[in-house]
Symmetry: C2
Subunit: 194 residues, 2 copies
Amino acid sequence: MAPAASTRWCPTPEQLMILEELYRGGIRTPNSFQIQKITNNLSLYGKIEGKNVFYWFQNHKARDRQKLRRKLLIQQQQQQIESPPPSFVTAADFQQLPVVYSQAHSFLPQGRESSMMGCHGWKTMDSSSRAEMENQDTMYGQDWMMINGTPCCNRPPKTLQLFPITTKALKDECATPYHHFSCSTSTSTSNTTN
Amino acid sequence: MAPAASTRWCPTPEQLMILEELYRGGIRTPNSFQIQKITNNLSLYGKIEGKNVFYWFQNHKARDRQKLRRKLLIQQQQQQIESPPPSFVTAADFQQLPVVYSQAHSFLPQGRESSMMGCHGWKTMDSSSRAEMENQDTMYGQDWMMINGTPCCNRPPKTLQLFPITTKALKDECATPYHHFSCSTSTSTSNTTN
DNA sequence: GCAAATTAATGATTTATTCAAG
DNA sequence: CTTGAATAAATCATTAATTTGC
């Protein structure tokens, strides 16, 4: 019997160490280029794919936030113990550390995570790197795309041979995606009927 | 000045029609293969990328659910008007149309959307197609990956030339992803230190 | 010591929200 | 207002730690 290869990525200590350093360095939501590079580099230390890197940052960021939220909640509760609540609610109650994020975030300003971004270690970088990094953050990878909760590369869509007018055949094809799967990358982007 | 090409995908009527038919046909969360095929096919009718297809199904499904939820809420409210609430809660209250989905779904059985799946048009397909389709639903695309909320393809990670031991250079590289970006696809998957 | 049983971490997916173009 | 795009939160699922009884 085969070793039944592990179904999920298991980061090596080296990989983890580097990822954490990058995180501490301020990287939160790496774009396609960054992920590709990180993946390439980390592959020196063990098998790894881009999606592993993507998920790692996603999860790490989320669980950091979560940890912080809990901490704030506890602090809040502590405060409530120290100073018993007033007999009725005052405006001041809403100017304190505000409830749970999941309840409060709909009130937050503009930027999705403007308050979260860059609260770690930016200062440890020289300003030029930082500038480039921030520039990166406002860029979105436009040549990558996400699929099924799994992503995929944006190769110029290749037209299938024999695509029928009716959608019947398409449905069938989608039901049995194993057949007819070719991979040539001809650049026939002839349609711009947009 | 260039026409400043539209920043987001604008589906053509044909594309929309096909997507909707596929949706009615039961497709909800197409996997990588399906998305690739659909994309290829739809590209006959206008420019389109895989992520457009991905997002389309994502949004369509979500907004369908949303619509349904609202409908149920209204129904519920109607019922409350017709028959005024009992003086206290009875078991029967929990056997009726159950509150808002977002509140109720944590009580649902196993499958993530077992109740949601297949409530549209499965019966319009012959059983063999349906079987294949359902089989598909349990499969995950393993050769695609997601990036930045954008995905990317799983080319075997190519090791960079000159990757330093320290992460300093990696950080810099990630900050300036424009340089040193090469695209050869050598299959050097030599690491399995898992 | 050492497995089976529990629990904690964390990788992977899906769903809910939000932003913003048109 | 509708809807494409993107991100955050919630959830699932597997692996690692840890505990427990022997």
